[in-house]
C-alpha cells in the first residue's frame, strides 16, 4: 500500500472518528471512552502476528506478554463497557 493511500486512509479515519462521536451526551462520556479503549485492544491482532513469527525467546516472551496485555485490554474493555451501559437496558425502547 502506498504511503499516500495510508495517509488518505488516516485522514479519512480522523474525520470519521471526529464526526461519529461529535454528538455524544455527557452521561455517555465514560462508556464511550471505555468502548474506544476496548477497540484499541485490537492491537491484539498485531501482537498475535508478531508473536506467531517470533523465534527468539526474547521476542517470543515480549510478544506473548503483549498478547496477554492486549487480550485483557480488549476483552475486559468490552465487558466493563457493557456493564456501564446496564442502566440503559430495557428502557432503551421506551418512547
Amino acid at each position: 500500500m502506498t504511503t499516500m493511500a495510508i495517509l488518505t486512509i488516516f485522514v479519512l479515519s480522523v474525520f470519521v472518528g471526529f464526526e461519529v462521536v461529535s454528538k455524544v451526551s455527557t452521561t455517555l462520556h465514560t462508556p464511550l471512552m471505555s468502548g474506544a479503549n476496548a477497540i484499541h485492544g485490537i492491537i491484539l491482532v498485531g501482537a498475535i502476528l508478531v508473536a506467531d513469527k517470533s523465534t527468539s525467546t526474547l521476542e517470543t516472551t515480549l510478544a506473548i506478554a503483549a498478547v496477554v496485555l492486549a487480550t485483557i485490554n480488549m476483552v475486559g474493555g468490552f465487558v466493563v463497557t457493557d456493564r456501564m451501559l446496564e442502566m440503559f437496558k430495557g428502557k432503551g425502547g421506551k418512547k
Binding site: S22, T26, A36, T71, F78
Partner: protein, 460 residues
C-alpha cells in the same frame, strides 16, 4: 485464507468499529454499539490466524494459551468490579493496551532489524514512546483512583524541571534511535518514557484524572495506528486512528463538561507549584452533574417527584418546570409534585406559582401523602428547595428546623438538586443530603438549569 476475503473481512471489522463508536454516542444504541464492536474484535482475532501474508506459525498454541490467560484475568475483573471503581479499571485496561502496543513495536523492531525503513522506525519510536507513557501514566491514575496513593496533586520542588527534563530526554533518545538504530537506545527510550508517564500524571488532581485517562486512551489509539503502519495492517490503522480522533474530541468534551481547561489539566505538570498542593480544599466532596446527566436520569426513570421551593419562585421557573413535567409525562414517566407546607416564603407560595403555570391540581401532592411513595420513586428533582428536604430536621436536635416534618426524599433512588451554590436555605443550616452518594447537583439558576435539562431531554 484468500487474501481478498481476508482483506474484506478486515475492512468489515473496521466498519464495525465505526458503528460501535457511533452507537456508543447515543443512549438508545450504546449497548448495541458496544456489542457490535466486540463482535468485530472477535472476528478480527479469529481471522488473524489465517492471515495469508503471515507464513510462519511458531507459537500458535502459546498464543492461544496467552489469550486464554488474558481472558481469565480480564473478564472476571471487569465483571466483579463495583460501579464506582469502573473508571480506574478503564485506566488500567488502557495502560495495558498501551503497554501491548509498545511491546509489539519493540518486537517488530527487533524482528525487522536493519531492514526497517525510516518511516517504520519513526512509527516504532512513536509507539514505544507514547505506549510507554500511556502504560505508566495509566498505572498511576489507577493507583490514584483506587486510593492506593494520594488523590491530591503530587508536586515537589523543582518538579517541573525534572518533568521537562525527562520529556526532553525522551525526545532526544527518539532522535538517537532514528539516527542510529539499535536495541539499547530503544530500551532507554522505553525507560525514559515510562518515567515521563509517571511524572506527567503525578501532579494531576483527583478531579482531572478522568480527563487524563481519556487523553491517554486517545494516545494509545494513535500508537495502535502507528503499529498498523509498521505491520502493514489497514485494520489497525483505521481502528487506531478512529480511537485517536474520537478520543481527542471526547477529551475536549469531557474537559468542557467539567468546566476544566484542557490545557491547564495537561500542562499542570509543567506549571504546578508545590504550594498548590496544600491549597486543595478540604471541603466535603459533592457530585455535580451536567444538564445531560440530569436529563438521562429523568428519562430512564419510571416515577419522578418534583420538589419545588423558594428557589423556584426566585427564578420564576414555574413555567419551565411544568414544561419539563409535561415532557416527562409524554415519555411515559409518572410525575408528581411534592409540596411541602412551608416551601417558599408564604403559605401556599408554590400553589400560586404552579397554578400560574397551569399545573393540574391533581399533580400536587401533600407532604403526608407523598412521603410514603419516595421508596417507589426513581428520581426526586429538587428545584430550589433546601430546608424542606433537610434531614437535619429529624437528626439534629437543637438545630433551627428540628422537629419540622420534612419531605423524606432520601428514600428515593436518586436525588437531584437544582440550586445556584452550596449556600444554605432560609434556616441557614447545612444540608447533609447535598453530600449524599445518591445526590447529583446541577448548579445554576433554576430556570436556566431546567431549560437546559428540557433541551437535553428532547435530544435523547
Amino acid at each position: 485464507m484468500n487474501s481478498n476475503l481476508y482483506a474484506l473481512l478486515g475492512l468489515g471489522v473496521a466498519v464495525s468499529f465505526v458503528m460501535a463508536l457511533k452507537g456508543l454516542s447515543a443512549p438508545k444504541t450504546a449497548r448495541r454499539g458496544n456489542l457490535i464492536g466486540a463482535f468485530g474484535a472477535t472476528v478480527a482475532t479469529i481471522i488473524v490466524f489465517f492471515d495469508p501474508t503471515s507464513v510462519e506459525h511458531h507459537n500458535t498454541l502459546l498464543i492461544l494459551a496467552a489469550i486464554l490467560f488474558g481472558l481469565l484475568v480480564g473478564v472476571p475483573a471487569a465483571r466483579k468490579i463495583q460501579m464506582t471503581q469502573m473508571p480506574q479499571l478503564v485506566a488500567l485496561f488502557n495502560g495495558v493496551g498501551g503497554g501491548a502496543a509498545a511491546l509489539v513495536a519493540i518486537v517488530e523492531y527487533l524482528n525487522l532489524g536493519d531492514s526497517a525503513s525510516i518511516g517504520e522506525v519513526i512509527a516504532t519510536v512513536f509507539t514505544v514512546l507514547v505506549g510507554s507513557v500511556s502504560f505508566s501514566g495509566s498505572i498511576i491514575t489507577f493507583l490514584k483512583l483506587q486510593e492506593l496513593m494520594t488523590t491530591r496533586p503530587v508536586v515537589f520542588p523543582g518538579g517541573r524541571f525534572i518533568i521537562a527534563g525527562t520529556l526532553a530526554g525522551s525526545l532526544a533518545t527518539s532522535g538517537w534511535v532514528i539516527a542510529s538504530g539499535g536495541t539499547t537506545p530503544l530500551l532507554v527510550l522505553a525507560g525514559l518514557s515510562l518515567l515521563f508517564g509517571v511524572l506527567f500524571v503525578l501532579p494531576v488532581g483527583g478531579a482531572d484524572v478522568p480527563i487524563v485517562i481519556s487523553l491517554l486512551n486517545a494516545f494509545t489509539g494513535l500508537t495502535v495506528a502507528a503499529s498498523g503502519y509498521v505491520l502493514q495492517s489497514t485494520l489497525l490503522i483505521v481502528a487506531g486512528t478512529l480511537v485517536g480522533a474520537s478520543g481527542t474530541i471526547l477529551t475536549r468534551k469531557m474537559a468542557e463538561a467539567m468546566g476544566r481547561s484542557l490545557f491547564g489539566t495537561l500542562f499542570g505538570a509543567f506549571t504546578a507549584k508545590p504550594q498548590a498542593a496544600t491549597q486543595a480544599g478540604e471541603a466535603r466532596p459533592v457530585k455535580s452533574g451536567s444538564p445531560e446527566d440530569v436529563a438521562i436520569l429523568l428519562n430512564y426513570a419510571s416515577r419522578v417527584v418534583i420538589v419545588p421551593g423558594f428557589g423556584l419562585a426566585v427564578a420564576q421557573a414555574q413555567h419551565t418546570v411544568r414544561e419539563l413535567a409535561d415532557l416527562l409525562a409524554a415519555k411515559g414517566v409518572e410525575v408528581a409534585y411534592g409540596i411541602h407546607p412551608v416551601a417558599g416564603r408564604m403559605p401556599g407560595h408554590m400553589n400560586v406559582l404552579l397554578a400560574e403555570a397551569n399545573v393540574p391540581y391533581e399533580q400536587l401532592v401533600e407532604m403526608e401523602e407523598i412521603n410514603p411513595t419516595f421508596p417507589q420513586t426513581d428520581v426526586v428533582l429538587i428545584v430550589g428547595a433546601n430546608d424542606v428536604v433537610n434531614p437535619a430536621a429529624k437528626t439534629t436536635p437543637g438545630c433551627p428546623i428540628y422537629g419540622m416534618p420534612i419531605l423524606d426524599v432520601a428514600g428515593a433512588g436518586n436525588v437531584i438538586f437544582l440550586k445556584r451554590s452550596m449556600r444554605p436555605g432560609f434556616a441557614g443550616i447545612e444540608n447533609d443530603l447535598l453530600y449524599d452518594a445518591k445526590t447529583t447537583l446541577l448548579f445554576g439558576d433554576a430556570k436556566d438549569s431546567l431549560t437546559k435539562v428540557v433541551s437535553a431531554l428532547k435530544g435523547l
